[in-house]
């Protein structure tokens, strides 16, 4: 059974129908890249997976659980990491505290243990030296790596990335992508909305192209980048 199993979801914002019947599933350990034009509904689909948006229709099952109707959404969200374009590190906490506080408050991890785990994951993303830095004193690439570490501290079974490198200066993109590549290699299940086609080509097991609120075409990076079937996909990919 797939880890993520979405059937026919619809989502409207006012009169604007952003998702028009999307079926989407992800197997355990799979890395899926979501690509498509601006406004095609990629973020909305991703945000539905941890219920930051609620679908109007359709079903979403993750880890075999109906998350649209789950009683304890917070317990579910704790198992799903999310990284945002704007990083969204907590401004009132330093780097280490950003990684410690969620563990202590949500998982009720003892402080000392939480601290050790935080340092471990900060080390993994190469940010251990900045543990006591203020989040406003580090670069965008460093912020995104801390945000990844913060998620990893929760030991997620699934990670969602919404254009994690789009707000970064070009020279910082690689440091974030290489951390993500590492996670993919370790077998973490990841869904990545991205405009980094090289990343999608190298790392994704499957590439999904969305347009106008539906999935138009999907396949292996090989199929999608060398031999797209759909005209819209072709037109989109030719812009890269």
């Amino acid at each position: 059974m797939p880890l993520v199993n979405i059937k026919n979801i619809h989502k409207k914002f006012g009169d604007l129908e952003v998702l028009k019947g999307v079926d989407f599933s992800v197997e355990e350990g799979e890395v899926v890249c979501l690509i498509g034009r601006s406004g095609s509904g990629k973020s909305t689909l991703l945000r539905c997976i941890n219920m930051l948006e609620q679908p109007d229709e359709g079903s979403i099952e993750v880890f075999g659980e109906d998350i649209v109707h789950t009683k304890d959404i917070n317990a579910y969200r704790a198992k799903v990491g999310m990284c945002f374009q704007q990083f969204n590190l907590f401004n009132n906490m330093n780097v280490l505290e950003n990684c410690v506080r969620p563990q202590v408050k949500i998982l009720k991890t003892p402080k000392e243990e939480a601290r050790n785990r935080a340092l471990l994951f900060l080390d993994k993303v190469g940010m251990q030296d900045f543990a006591n830095a203020s989040v406003n004193k580090i670069s965008g690439g460093q912020k995104q790596r801390v945000a990844i570490a913060r998620s990893l501290c929760m030991e997620p079974k699934l990670m969602l990335f919404d254009e994690p490198t789009s707000a970064l200066d070009p020279e910082m993109v690689q440091e974030v992508l290489s951390v993500m590549k590492e996670l993919a290699k370790e077998g973490l299940t990841m869904i990545v909305v991205t405009h980094e086609m090289n990343f999608a080509r190298d790392v994704a097991d499957r590439v999904v192209f969305m347009d106008g609120g539906v999935i138009v075409e999907e396949g292996t990076p090989e199929e999608m980048f060398t031999n797209p079937q759909n005209e819209v996909t072709k037109a989109f990919l030719s812009t890269y």
Binding site: N50, M51, L52, Q54, H69, T70, K71, I73, N74, A75, Y76, R77, A78, K79, V80, G81, M82, F84, Q86, F87, N88, L89, F90, N91, N92, N94, R101, P102, K105, I106, S134, N136, G140, K143, A147, R150, S151, M154, A167
Partner: protein, 264 residues
């Protein structure tokens, strides 16, 4: 002119201790009123800012709505009527049930009054916190309450600090209306001194100078605290990579706070 100065010295000499009592009472009432008012404002502003989860039960949605209406009524009443009237009304209303002193009543009234203003200040402080902050908290699995306490309120208080400090200065001045219920604050003391000396101009001149000194010192201290807070951590909107002082100025403008402490 010489006479004026002589009279002032005479008043200070004879009534120095009652003026000093007035200063102490004024500061006590203004400070406790601001602090208790802040706590009230955080509770009221926090409750009003909480958006219930999409999956909250019908009952909790209905009670949230009822609570919001009550809180709005509280804010409207206490911001929409003079504190002098509030003081008289509440003092006499409750006098039969709790045999309270004037001072107790004064502290209660100024606290509730300040709370209504603080609730609005806290609300705009909360609105100035980037939505990404609460989205990140919720995506990690924090509850509404945890998000509010750990992420939103600490930043909101910081955002709103200039406006919060301003309430203290306003209270130093506005506590003067509480003389209506005979507490020995500065205004009350000055009025009795003027009444027994008949040196009205001189007495009220002294009073004005004392208020000016108190509010100036308070403004200096608040400015120092504010500078301190900004040195340690600046809460920038994350997307902004502009120089920090520019971004911070923009953010403060958003919530209508400013550092030139002035009256409302």
């Amino acid at each position: 002119m010489e006479r004026f100065i002589q009279n002032i010295l005479k008043i200070l000499n004879t009534y120095g201790s009652s003026l000093w009592l007035g200063v102490k009472t004024t500061l006590f009432v203004a400070l406790t009123g601001t602090l208790i008012g802040l706590v009230l404002g955080l509770i009221v502003g926090g409750i009003r800012a909480i958006k219930l989860d999409y999956n909250a039960s019908k009952a909790s949605k209905a009670s949230k709505k009822a609570i919001d209406i009550l809180l709005n009524i509280y804010i409207a009443i206490f911001r929409g009527t003079p504190m002098m009237v509030q003081a008289l009304f509440i003092y006499y209303l409750l006098l039969d049930y709790i045999h309270w002193t004037y001072l107790q009543a004064a502290v209660v009234v100024i606290s509730i009054n300040t709370g209504a203003y603080m609730a609005e200040i806290v609300r705009s402080g909360i609105q100035a916190v980037d939505v990404g902050q609460s989205e990140a908290a919720r995506s990690l699995g924090m509850s509404n309450w945890q998000t509010m306490m750990n992420v939103i309120l600490p930043q909101a208080i910081k955002n709103a600090f200039p406006a919060i400090g301003n309430e203290f200065i306003v209270n130093i001045k506005d506590s003067s209306v509480l003389m209506i219920i005979s507490i020995t604050e500065l205004m009350f003391q000055a009025k009795s001194i003027a009444g027994s000396t008949f040196l009205f101009t001189e007495t009220y001149f002294i009073e004005a100078i004392i208020y000016l000194i108190l509010t100036s010192i308070a403004a200096i201290i608040l400015n120092m605290i504010e500078k301190r807070m900004n040195q340690t951590k600046v809460s920038l909107p994350q997307s902004v990579t502009a120089p920090e002082n520019i971004a911070y100025a923009v953010e403060k403008e958003n919530i209508g706070g400013n550092s030139d402490y002035a009256s409302r």
